[in-house]
Symmetry: C2
Subunit: 393 residues, 2 copies
């Protein structure tokens, strides 16, 4: 048996392990110092009451013969898909039920969708970027080209007509930068894709943080997107489902390449290589989109938004260039005094014991930048910004 040799080309990721190692070393040398982590990319608030209650009811159903559920539809139950259809409708996007596929998270489907595409496609990835886009394509042996995201373009690169690409990754609100495309900008990508026979893989995992109604929460708010884009979203950040695992993928029926429907291909992929999200979890996800659920998750999102605001205001006070934090849980800042990402990491750790994520870990254009997140507790976030205020003051 010959192994898939492309695995040997995946870069080892030392980012989070190096962060952990440095923190642990500092900690053992300074056991009395309290470390505050603002690098965390995981939610910390618990599931909301409506969700827990729905999950538990579903558990009870599974314990009784009359209401027990065996294999469900691989693409998800209609009760949840109907809620998602309404959710999209609430930001003016019309979807048919069989364009919605329930998944166990955006990460899985962002990787699995690649099954549908030939290996000889060229992939376009913005830099800096969520590492999974690059790693999954490297594993499959696809050629990757990069497009620069930087201060000159507000970390929102636009298409370059001289660059030929077949598969385009866009993430807005962006991880790691927190930058959000407006409709005019996104329209340029949609037009480019339609003109170039390319497919856009649109990662909208952070859409729930958008509050400005003028900013698109779905790529399907843009005319023409339904003939070129697949959208991936997740309840991970929307409703704290990082450990509960539920997301959704939208594959429009008008998405046709070489006369073949990607919607039909994806249905075939999912029915062959997936068996659906647990019934219990789908009932929990359904509860997110009830009026009570939607109200409760807004409270949690507002909590994180307030954290982001506290961080952003402190940076502003000290004239530290940064973006994000407004329609995103991430704050992306330029390291002061021309420090590199790792120099700034060490500087913060040693002086104020605040831990963030070095931007260099997300690609070459991340060098000299740093990511802070709003997912910590309020108390810790307040303490961290007080320490930063003092340090920069």
């Amino acid at each position: 048996m010959n192994i898939n040799k492309n695995y040997q080309n995946i870069a080892d990721s030392y980012l989070f392990s190096t962060v952990a190692k440095k923190v642990s070393e500092f900690s053992s040398k300074n056991p009395d110092k309290k470390i505050i982590r603002l690098g965390i990319g995981d939610v910390t608030l618990p599931l909301c009451k409506a969700v827990v209650s729905a999950l538990k009811s579903a558990c009870d159903e599974m314990g009784v013969k009359e209401t027990f559920r065996g294999y469900g539809p691989e693409q998800g139950y209609e009760f949840l898909k109907t809620r998602l259809q309404d959710y999209y409708k609430s930001h003016n996007v019309d979807l048919e039920l069989d364009e919605i596929f329930i998944s166990d998270g955006a990460k899985s489907d962002l990787g699995n969708i690649l099954d549908l595409f030939a290996v000889d496609n060229t992939v376009l990835v913005p830099d800096p970027v969520y590492p999974v886009y690059v790693d999954t394509n490297t594993m499959a042996g696809r050629k990757i080209v990069y497009i620069d995201a930087n201060e000159q373009n507000d970390f929102l690169p636009l298409p370059d007509s001289s660059v030929k690409a077949d598969i385009i990754y866009l993430c807005s609100p962006n991880n790691p930068t927190g930058a959000v495309y407006n409709k005019t900008q996104l329209k340029k990508w949609v037009d480019y894709a339609n003109e170039n026979h390319a497919v856009i893989l649109f990662d909208s995992a952070y859409e729930c943080f958008i509050t400005d109604k003028e900013l698109p929460r779905s790529i399907y708010e843009i005319e023409g997107a339904k003939t070129c884009a697949i959208e991936f979203c997740s309840l991970s950040k929307t409703a704290g489902f990082t450990g509960t695992r539920c997301g959704y993928t939208i594959v429009p029926k008008t998405l046709v390449f070489d006369g073949v429907s990607l919607n039909k291909m994806w249905l075939r992929r999912q029915t062959t290589k997936f068996n659906g999200v647990p019934y219990i979890i789908q009932r929990g996800a359904e509860a997110v989109f009830t009026p009570e659920g939607l109200e409760e998750i807004q409270e949690n999102l507002n909590y994180y938004r307030e954290n982001a605001k506290l961080i952003s205001e402190t940076l502003k006070k000290h004239n530290i260039w940064h973006i994000g934090g407004k329609h995103s849980p991430y704050i992306w800042l330029r390291c002061p005094n021309n420090m590199t990402s790792w120099e700034f990491f060490d500087y913060l750790l040693e002086n104020v014991q605040v831990v963030g994520t070095p931007g260099a870990g997300f690609g070459k254009n991340g060098e000299g930048y740093f990511r802070l997140t709003s997912f910590g507790s309020r108390e810790n976030t307040i303490e961290a910004v007080e320490r930063l205020d003092k340090l920069f003051g």
Copy 2:
């Protein structure tokens, strides 16, 4: 963008849709006749009490900040892996914790594991077979060769040294035939794989039905298997998890091809393209392997075993050749009077309104055979065998 053209080579599966269509047509013509389905491949008994209780406790934990869990380890929580380690130990297999990967089911991982292998491998598949083995490899463009399972070899084909294969699928107890390899037979496959630098993908999803201690429940009961085999199992049939979704995949650390560890490759694949099984579901799965859970699931398994026995005894009484049903939920019978699979299907539907699955749907060697299952209710199973008894009598 060029699509993956291999999808055009996947055979459309009309098996279950044709069954459904025929049943529905009969039903509308004969609304007063009660149809009994013995073709069902899904469990019908509810989750056991220990599992429901554990699931609900975990739901409560997720609703409280102090016990809330975000992202978990992609390869599964140690609390569940430790239980599985003990479970394997109980049938004399020693595993290290990091050889165990928690999955959302055997079907997903049987497809996903193919990411690790080059496209230019030859795949060996027994015929008749669970269609997923063929479809997932066809999607990836691999060459497939078949080995005949038939009455001459008791539907348990052994390796043919003249056939060169790199990836070998084995399923024991088998779906659809219910045939079970003994240790001597399985040793021949293990030796063949080790001699030919091949990997065995061993689907043990029905191992829980084995009661004879001499029959292997895991391929790792066979000497040499840890250098050639990956094992896939699921709680779907073990504990009625078809709609609850949890399984496990074993990748031994001694499984090394071309100097590369498949265990490390699989870990990299899962951390990149998967985010783990829901915490709540893993707590439910843990409860399966507690003393109470193990006792409760045996009651359910005995219920299905008794159904199988009822079917098997009726067939025996009428001298209808069949296998399975003893260490398997499936009964595989030769259609009486040289009927084809579909002729027998129509004959049963029209005369006694019993629905089974035509063997021809599982491959060319399935023609002339028929699959019945033990997953119905006791009342329906009794009524079905009484009707069959009358029909054949």
